[in-house]
């Protein structure tokens, strides 16, 4: 077996450019003008508005907020999330979604097998563990936010539901770009769900999903071909590379990175210097497109 050993790499320092305008750190006074509204990442003391996190000040009309570079996921209604069931309770599942409190998936906000719409009976409550048990992964949408900040999810659409075979990646939620759609069937032969909460699901593309009447609770456990697994593994390496180099994640950036990475073997992408080159090329390509 060939083993590849490298010396520790020197940490690269980005060239020191000037500070962006409006950079604040905790405790800094943003303004002493009282005509502004206090947003996230700020607090009021002695009639002055202070920052409470390190980041760049954003201003929308009279609202001032500071967005930190890295946080736990703060849910908003309508977000697509990927989560893991942690607990089965009475009429509800608790789901880990990388937010500060576990999210809740009510029995009444899932599509039951059979697709019929009816009142949830006591039998349904007893069957809950058959539908989703601890450790299962789901994709869902945020339905509402409770007063204490916990999220209520729903899977009332055929595109949401239990996830079958694939790879889960965890990245920082701030790296996932908000788009119209977060479900992508990439042309390279795999599907990606870019959850707003920083959980990313890569799975082989399924062709006929229209015949699905089980409400998404039946998992397809057929073996995945080696080609498809190769594609998935390459996508995984690309997405982790993008996250490492702090590029925003969306369909185009993932696809471009995938395309530029094809000249390397999948396992070569794990080497930091190779990944850096791939990301650099992808970044150039994105910048060309952008202008």
């Amino acid at each position: 077996m060939a083993v590849d050993i490298r010396l520790p790499r020197k940490r690269k320092r980005g060239e020191l450019t000037s500070e962006p305008r409006g950079l604040v750190s905790p405790g800094d006074v943003i303004t002493s003008d009282t005509g502004f509204m206090r947003g996230h990442g700020t607090y009021m003391e002695d009639d002055k508005l202070h920052a409470s996190v390190a980041g760049v000040v954003e201003r929308v009309n009279k609202l001032i907020c500071v967005q930190p570079l890295k946080t736990r996921y703060n849910g908003e209604v309508g977000d697509v999330v990927v989560g893991r069931i942690t607990e089965v309770g009475q009429k509800r599942w608790r789901v880990d979604t990388n937010s500060r409190l576990n999210s809740i998936l009510m029995l009444s906000s899932v599509n039951l097998p059979g697709g019929e719409l009816r009142r949830r009976s006591a039998e349904d409550e007893l069957m809950m563990r058959q539908y989703l048990s601890e450790g299962d992964l789901i994709s869902a949408e945020v339905q509402s936010v409770f007063s204490d900040g916990a999220l209520s999810l729903h899977t009332r659409s055929l595109k949401y539901g239990k996830l079958g075979q694939g790879i889960l990646l965890k990245v920082s939620p701030s790296l996932v770009k908000r788009r119209k759609t977060h479900f992508h069937n990439l042309p390279c032969g795999a599907s990606v769900i870019l959850g707003n909460n920083g959980y990313i699901w890569i799975s082989p593309t399924v062709e006929n999903e229209s015949s699905d009447t089980a409400g998404g609770f039946i998992q397809n456990l057929e073996p995945v071909s080696e080609d498809e697994r190769g594609v998935i593994a390459r996508l995984r390496n690309c997405i982790l590379g993008l996250a490492e180099h702090r590029l925003m994640l969306y369909d185009t950036s993932v696809l471009y990175t995938y395309e530029t990475s094809t000249k390397y073997e999948i396992h070569e992408l794990l080497k930091p210097d190779v990944m850096e080159e791939v990301i650099h090329l992808a970044r150039l390509k994105l910048e060309q497109e952008g202008t």
């Binding site: 020191l16 905790p26 607090y43 570079l69 490492e244 994105l286 952008g290």
Partner: protein, 246 residues
Amino acid sequence: MAGIELLSDQGFRADGRRPHELRKIRCRMGVFRQADGSAYIEQGNTKVLATVYGPHEITGGRSKALHDKVLLNCQYSMATFSTGERKTRPKGDRRSQEMSMNLRRTFQAAILTHLYPRSQIDIYVQVLQSDGGNYCACVNAATLAVIDAGIPMRDYVCACTSSLLEDTPVVDISYLEESVGSPEMVVALLPKSEQIVLFQQNSRLHVDNLEKVLDMGIKGCTDVYGILDQSVREHVTEVSNLMMST
């Protein structure tokens, strides 16, 4: 202690510093990928690693949850190899328990705890090499880690030791100066409002000297703040430039 001159006639200390000078501080934020926030700090030869997880769901029983503020869980530990003699240190010994409690109180004053009811924040600090001022290095490292995790704080918390050597107040004392039995004073400060969040004193100090030693400690804290603030700004600039370009 014959032979060791802690403060020379020319006004230099044993390691060549002047009384008001800090040791060299080097720090880095975001050293771990899987933690929500992490930081590493070196103050002279004292090296500390801090990691922050959270805010997340309460671990180990929901009954511990506080309905109006976040539960802060701090853990202080020292590596086996951190001191001159190698020694396995059990997790819950008296000294580290006390340190953990002090850390928790310090950060409870600085973190905006009311924003995250029924959640938990974990702060883990580990001393990798100990050369005096462990607690101060831990507080400074934990501050950086909390900022890295994006947890809202009222202000930075900066901590610094000070002491009195031959009637001269000195700042940021090393292990050598600590071990001769000079009165060690630990101050943790919110530098912008100059509020003291922790004040600790080991061994006796005459009350006449209290004020000047305290002033020295506060000055040390504000100096530490300048260094931490600069490194936070550099870190934020670097990362936000990367994210901005796409």
